[in-house]
Subunit: 110 residues, 2 copies
């Protein structure tokens, strides 16, 4: 019943990136990682009003799409933004919107 494979590769990828941002918790996590000058581990869970388990899942999701990286440091894990990848993602969105806006508004009125 899922039909995403019917669409072209580029559309699918942009949709996946958008999906990764499609939850306020994940936006908040990215915000928090950007603000903490160095990358923090499970302190993220304390900043997000969700259970540790749920936050862990959101982190996994963000990692899967390349927004963040995790570095094991003993028992702890340091998560941080992947700035290079973020630049790519930013560019993908920008180019998409540029494409949409490259034509003047059509005359929709009858």
């Amino acid at each position: 019943m899922i039909k995403t494979e019917l669409f072209n590769q580029q559309d699918q990828e942009l949709a996946l990136m958008a999906k990764a941002l499609a939850h306020p918790a994940r936006i908040a996590i990215l915000d928090f990682l950007a603000q903490s000058s160095c990358c923090i581990s499970g302190d993220i869970s304390n900043e997000i009003p969700l259970s540790r388990t749920t936050v862990s899942q959101h982190l996994t999701e963000l990692k899967k799409m390349g927004f963040i990286q995790g570095t094991v440091e003993g028992v702890k894990i340091n998560y941080c933004l992947d700035n290079e990848k973020l630049k790519e993602i930013k560019l993908a969105f920008e180019q998409f919107f540029e494409k949409l806006l490259s034509k003047p508004n059509p005359t929709c009125e009858v």
Copy 2:
């Protein structure tokens, strides 16, 4: 079980915009509307490999988030991009990514 209301307004709004883009069909619809020099009605269904009903739902979703407008013209409906609103959305994403990238990559290595 839904906990979005626990997050701040801005995060919620960005998440909703991202959600609207989180399906390849909706990306494809926006692409198509951008390419057709004037706005087209149900021809969109013919361009998207999904049933007319499903496309209609995706259109409703895009309209709800302000990406597109629909103008009734007799039996037909002309859909078109809302360029003004698109500019706002584009800006919101840009500012979000700027914020994330405003700090140098933290030193994640041990």
